[in-house]
């Protein structure tokens, strides 16, 4: 029988003393026993409300040990978990909840006051509240079943049917082009394929302490949580605030005993700026980075600061978990300015490169689109067969099976590695987040005074991209830039709100009448210098 994430988690549990700390948070921690016993009780509470296999449960929680326990509880119930960003404006989060029709929710009491509006148009069978009943508002929808986590944890667990490998484990929503975030669906099989690969390839075990820098809706969290627990390791959760304090992080890696770090390069660059080189943490064995291009000069600083640490570039869209990886060499030549490669395909995956006509490229120096196939691939996009059909195809080389077009442009290097050239579409990275410019533009255009709005990415060595916006108003309309900013901030998470807005009479066009994004970017860059 094919393995599930539950199998991997229980292998980790079987390798450790159950009293060993599993999840370490800022203010609380859970041992392996507490984590698993609590998760099974939460699963029981969900099952008693009729929630289980085939359902989805939203987690609208800060990064706490309780949230991880709830996440495991959802998996034990047989349902799939959907992490909802607690830092996103709630209407955007509600769009996601409506899209995937949550059968249940686990919610921090800090969000309880929003529930009446948030749940409009939804009918979850159970809301589990992390916190006190007294914090519930009076005007909750009639008949809504609410239980506190404390109540659920006080009751014994029941034996529940285990999910099968082909069933959904989690849905991660990423920025979508039509203004609606899209849900990347992973099954137990695709999740565990990745988790097993991390554990087996990097040899992580009970002696390790993983960091958890990424929020749970970001795919780096899959390794942070599941590869750690499957290894019998401990996980140190970093709150959103902690994650934004690079000097604090640089100082705490060693006292926390972290041996495996995973984050976007921006965070590492900020830590370098904040003094990581002066007192490099000892004991850090493995450092993974992913999500954006690591500027070579900064990576060289990191390499020198951490000579004993194995550094890896993990690469791949959320749709593939990770599909290629590269170990940073012991020394990066001083003269090197080109970014390091994204490496070769993961051992259990197959990667290949096709040109625009669909021909496979094998020659050194040739460039085309990266494709991947194998266990890590998503099942598809939630509720969007059309988009799925534009990403997952029958293997275009005529072989049996499905392959994923990553949309990433790569070049074949003489040593067999891939060099990353950029993304094909308008997807950009800013501060480690993948942002579809279309979603920003859709929110600009949602303002009644706006005629056209274009989000312009300006490459930035530290942030990946800075986002600015050029906006044309309808005739006769007047609009203050601050009003437009507030409008966007109400619709988008902070990292997607453009830093600077310009109001202009018109936009440059290409010969085919499209907005000339290249010219806009050059204009912006000219002004910035």
């Amino acid at each position: 029988m094919q393995r599930t994430l539950i199998d991997a988690l229980e292998e980790g549990l079987s390798r450790v003393d159950p009293n060993k700390p599993a999840i370490l948070g800022t203010d609380a921690q859970l041992s392996y026993r507490e984590l698993f016993e609590g998760a099974k009780r939460i699963a029981t509470a969900l099952a008693e409300a009729g929630i289980g296999r085939g359902n989805r449960v939203g987690l609208w929680m800060d990064k706490t040990p309780a949230a991880v326990q709830a996440l495991l509880g959802v998996l034990y119930s047989g349902a799939a978990y959907v992490p909802l960003d607690p830092r996103s404006p709630w209407p955007r989060t509600r769009t996601i909840a409506l899209d995937c029709q949550l059968a249940g929710m686990v919610v921090d009491s800090a969000k309880a006051g929003l529930l009446p509006e948030f749940l409009d148009g939804q009918a979850p069978r159970l809301v589990l509240l992390s916190g006190n009943r007294a914090e519930l508002p009076a005007n909750l929808p009639e008949g809504l079943r609410v239980q506190t986590l404390a109540e659920a944890l006080a009751r014994p667990a029941r034996e529940l049917p285990v999910p099968e490998a082909g069933e959904l484990a989690y849905i991660l929503y990423t920025s979508g082009s039509t203004g609606v975030p899209k849900g990347v669906v992973h099954t137990h099989a695709s999740g565990v394929a990745f988790v097993d690969w991390v554990r087996d390839t990097f040899g992580t075990g009970p002696e390790d302490v993983f960091s958890s820098h990424a929020p749970f809706h970001f795919d780096l969290s899959i390794s942070d949580l599941f590869a750690a627990l499957a290894s019998g390791a401990s996980v140190r959760l970093l709150s959103a605030t902690e994650g934004m304090l690079p000097a604090y992080l640089a100082r705490m890696i060693e006292p926390w005993g972290i041996t495996v770090w995973y984050s976007v390069p921006s965070v590492l660059v900020a830590m370098l700026e904040a003094g990581l080189e002066k007192e490099p943490p000892r004991g850090l064995k493995i450092l993974f980075f992913a999500g954006e291009v690591f500027a070579t000069a900064q990576l060289r600083r990191l390499r020198k600061a951490l000579p004993e640490t194995r550094l890896y570039n993990l690469f791949g869209p959320t749709e593939t978990n990770v599909c290629t990886y590269y170990q940073v060499p012991e020394r990066i030549p001083e003269e090197q300015t080109a970014p390091i490669p994204i490496g070769k395909g993961c051992e259990h995956m197959e990667t290949f490169v096709l040109d625009d006509e669909g021909r496979e490229l094998r020659g050194v120096g040739e460039q085309g689109t990266l494709w991947a196939r194998g266990g890590n691939l998503m099942q598809g996009y939630w509720n969007d067969a059309e988009r799925t059909a534009r990403t997952l195809f029958p293997d275009p080389r005529g072989q049996e099976g499905v392959a994923c077009c990553t949309g990433d442009q790569v070049r074949l290097l003489p040593d067999g590695n891939y060099e990353f050239l950029g993304r094909r579409d308008h997807m950009v990275k800013t501060r480690g987040y993948r942002v579809e410019l279309g979603e920003i533009e859709a929110s600009l255009a949602a303002h009644p005074s706006v005629l056209e709005g274009v989000a312009v990415p300006l490459p930035d060595p530290k942030l990946g991209n800075r986002l600015v916006a050029s906006v044309v108003l309808r005739k006769g309309e007047q609009l203050d830039v601050n009003t437009l900013r507030s409008h966007c901030a109400a619709l988008l998470p902070g990292y997607m709100v453009p830093e600077v807005f310009e109001l202009r009479g018109e936009l440059p066009r290409t010969s085919t009448g499209k907005v000339d994004r290249g010219t806009l970017r050059v204009e912006w860059q000219g002004r910035e210098e």
Binding site: T26, D62, D85, P86, R87, S88, P89, A110, S239, A240, T241, E242, M244, L245, P246, A247, Y248, A274, G275, R431, N482, R485, S486, A489, P493, G494, Y495, E499
Partner: protein, 95 residues
């Protein structure tokens, strides 16, 4: 430490409240003194950096080097950290 402009913790809190509301978030309605700043999504990392720079300039307190995550939770906790680091609020040394 070179404490500047620190008169009372209440005054620091009020000044920071005005700064965060008007200069960082550019809102009309004031941010509550006890509102979680980062965890709720009110502030992103750029906003946080802006506040840290302001505190350094206005009060001479360097929160990036000596601050703890708890100092950044709310406007109140930021004000308390500025007050603590100013040294004025500390008990007088005897002898």
């Amino acid at each position: 430490m070179n404490a500047k402009n620190v008169v009372s913790p209440v005054q620091v809190a009020q000044e920071l409240q005005r700064y965060v509301t008007e200069e960082v978030l550019r809102r009309k309605d004031g941010v509550a003194l006890e509102a979680p700043l980062v965890e709720s999504g009110l502030l992103d990392s750029l906003g946080l950096l802006q506040i840290v720079a302001h505190i350094e300039q206005q009060y001479g307190a360097n929160l990036t080097q000596s601050g703890e995550p708890g100092d950044f939770r709310t406007i109140s906790s930021l004000a308390a950290a500025v007050w603590r680091m100013s040294g004025i609020g500390a008990p007088a040394q005897s002898g």
